[in-house]
């Protein structure tokens, strides 16, 4: 029982991705997303015209 548990654990642990392999996968995914975002240009929606009213008082010396 103990031996099979150890074997199971060992196999399970080997099947788990290591930190470095996870990191490589994450970096690869980020590279793909960056390439994709570079190739897909951002289109800006034109904002609407706005009005501004300025009021001032002329100060005479």
């Amino acid at each position: 029982m103990g031996k099979s548990k150890e074997i199971f654990d060992e196999k399970y642990i080997k099947a788990l991705p290591t930190d470095s392999s996870i990191q490589k996968k994450v970096e690869k995914k980020q590279e793909i997303e960056e390439e994709k975002s570079d190739s897909e240009p951002v289109k800006y929606i034109i904002s609407k015209p706005t009005r501004k009213v300025i009021k001032a008082k002329i100060v005479h010396d």
């Binding site: 609407k48 015209p49 501004k52 009213v53 300025i54």
Partner: protein, 188 residues
């Protein structure tokens, strides 16, 4: 889809697209109180004839003459660009309190608009490398901008320039719109 050029020339050209151009609605002065109302247009396109712009630049900047300023322009004609989705909903001037007509995007009015069969409007579909969404020029909303103002702000506010054949199409349609004759309804 239209062709545009990103290269910035020193002078103002027909077809130049500028961002954040102000139009002064009115300026009042009464008993030392001043009130100025300005509308900021996110995008405008220059419609003044290119030869006029070239001559103005030549005699104003390149070869200024003290004899006369006969070739000077007083101002440059521009027209605003609106987002086509806002145009469909009639909401493109909602921020300044104006409600415009709806144009059904999926039916004949929308198709006529996009095919440039509506004399009042000009549809622009920009290439992928230009970061402007599909837009509409409304010829009815043309206004003018001071020449020196545009020259001073060209470096910061220039976006791109519509290429020659396409800008001439816009110019020709604008001239047709301005010179149209509205006949009164015939009464029997």
């Amino acid at each position: 889809m239209i062709k545009v050029e990103s290269k910035k020339e020193k002078r103002i050209c027909q077809g130049d697209i500028f961002k954040d151009i102000e139009h002064v609605e009115y300026a009042l002065e009464e008993e030392s109180n001043v009130e100025i109302s300005k509308i900021n247009f996110p995008l405008v396109i220059v419609l003044t004839q290119d030869c006029d712009l070239a001559q103005d630049y030549k005699y104003r900047i390149e070869e200024p003459s003290t004899n006369n300023q006969d070739k000077f322009l007083i101002s440059v004609i521009v027209a605003p660009l609106y987002n086509v989705e806002h145009i469909y909903m009639g909401e493109h001037l909602s921020e300044i309190g104006l409600k415009m007509q709806n144009i059904n995007k999926d039916k004949s009015p929308g198709q006529i608009l996009r095919k440039n069969k509506n004399p009042r409007y000009h549809y622009l579909d920009f290439p992928k490398n230009i970061p402007i969404a599909s837009s509409i020029i409304d010829f009815k909303h043309y206004f003018t901008v001071n020449v020196n103002y545009l020259l001073e702000h060209k470096s910061k506010k220039f976006i791109c320039k519509v290429s020659e054949l396409y800008r001439e199409d816009i110019s020709q349609r604008f001239a047709s719109f301005l010179s149209r004759i509205g006949l009164p309804p015939f009464k029997k």
